[in-house]
């Protein structure tokens, strides 16, 4: 696994019955501990400037697919820091060959922290004080599709 949040391994188009239906990429949890899915606050994805909403992105944790709605109420399934999540994005035809600029925002709750920090959590914006053990909310990476 890499230090970067968006991983270079696992970025590819998704094929279904011979047709390319979308693409996927992996992110690691840049926290010092794991979280339950309901703690996640998924944000917005931009690929080469094209916007994908949180409702349109499936999270795959330990081999299981979860929608944004399903994760909201799931406080039993745990995402560990050592296993990246796979994010699957619907896009007919997928991404074209060559370079792509990815920018993705997400964060997670930590209810043991002072309320002032929790109240302003926004997956698409950085926290007002950056604490590296929580990672950046928004991460970018430029990766190639073959």
């Amino acid at each position: 696994m890499e230090r970067e949040v968006i991983q270079s391994v696992g970025f590819r188009n998704i094929k279904k019955d011979g047709n390319v239906t979308g693409f996927q990429f992996k992110i690691r949890l840049p926290y010092y501990r794991g979280i339950f899915l309901s703690q996640l606050r998924p944000g917005t994805l931009f690929v080469d400037g094209e916007r994908f909403e949180k409702e349109d992105i499936i999270w795959n944790i330990h081999g299981e697919d979860y929608t944004y709605e399903e994760m909201k109420s799931n406080f039993q399934t745990h995402w560990d820091v050592t296993t990246p999540a796979v994010l699957k994005v619907k896009k007919s035809g997928g991404l074209v060959q060559g370079f792509h600029d990815l920018k993705y925002g997400f964060c997670f709750t930590s209810s043991y922290m002072p309320p002032v920090m929790q109240d302003s959590l926004n997956p698409d914006e950085e926290a007002f004080i950056f604490m590296p053990e929580f990672g950046h909310h928004v991460n970018e990476r430029r990766l190639l599709i073959v």
Partner: protein
């Protein structure tokens, strides 16, 4: 078990390319998935690097190996081994001892599903010629290799020339024995024409042209797709790749081209060899057609 049935040249990756990352930021499974991202099916491993508990892997590890091959649609193509008859400092290994070392690797390669071995031997001069008893060692191993369907191939790379003595010696040996279990791995460094200014160039090196491959094709069972520099337009700037692949297609050569990257920059912090390999595979995919 996953099979990739395409005829003609096919693409793959030699895990040697990940030498700065393997065991640190990439596990064996991450290397497999990296190949899968590229749509590459062929793989080359190094016996002494990628087999856990080499030379005696557990049955559990071998099971895991095949599980990974299935999951990521990987075909075990080439198994890199060394017959190191200079492994002792005070004497050479006997032919018998060298054979035993080789036979152990043939069995292991077969157990992991490989069909080609890239066999390296100690060299005795600057022309990179192998130890004097190489013929005896290989001859002794031919029946086992034949039984297990393994083709042993020394690697031909710069500064060796495709028309040079070493290649001729190997081809003579193949003709003399009539064996189908010994052949050549050609590393594309033998076609390199472009060097940057001030870069060291071996005085014994003369570039081959792709046509030089033609008489050797019946004996070539695998190639190292060596590459030096990929442009952002996904072209290799030092080796005539387009011509080489066109020739291999036209001659109906059926085998794998395995990306081998050995630029020293892969050890620089922050270097992303996976992205370099993806550039190489965009090019190969476009020339090969899959």
């Amino acid at each position: 078990m996953y099979q990739y049935d395409r005829k003609g040249p096919k693409r793959g990756v030699a895990l040697y390319s990940y030498s700065a990352e393997f065991g640190l930021t990439k596990s064996l499974e991450e290397c497999f998935e990296d190949l899968h991202d590229m749509g590459a099916h062929g793989i080359e491993i190094l016996a002494n690097t990628h087999i856990e508990n080499y030379p005696n892997p557990t049955d559990e590890w071998v099971e895991k190996w095949f599980r990974l091959c299935d999951k990521y649609e990987i075909v075990p193509v080439e198994y890199g081994n060394w017959i190191d008859s200079h492994v002792l400092g005070y004497r050479d290994l006997t032919t018998e001892e060298s054979y035993e070392m080789l036979a152990r690797d043939i069995r292991l390669a077969h157990r992991l599903g490989f069909t080609v071995m890239r066999t390296k031997m100690p060299v005795i001069n600057d022309a990179l010629e192998p130890v004097k008893n190489w013929r005896e060692i290989i001859k002794m191993a031919l029946p086992l290799a034949e039984e297990l369907g393994i083709k042993m191939c020394p690697e031909i790379h710069t500064p060796s020339n495709l028309k040079g003595k070493m290649v001729t010696d190997y081809v003579d040996f193949i003709k003399e024995t009539g064996t189908k279990n010994f052949g050549l791995n050609i590393d594309f460094s033998v076609f390199r024409t472009e060097f940057s200014e001030g870069e060291y160039r071996d005085p014994n090196y003369t570039p081959n042209v792709p046509e030089d491959l033609i008489p050797l094709l019946p004996y070539i069972y695998c190639c190292h797709a060596k590459f030096i520099n990929m442009s952002d337009e996904f072209e290799e700037t030092t080796i005539p790749y387009k011509e080489i692949i066109e020739l291999l297609k036209k001659q109906n050569w059926d085998g794998y081209l395995l990306s081998e990257y050995e630029g020293a920059d892969k050890y620089d912090p922050g270097y992303e060899v996976g992205q370099t390999l993806r550039k190489h595979h965009i090019m190969m995919k476009n020339y090969i057609g899959d």
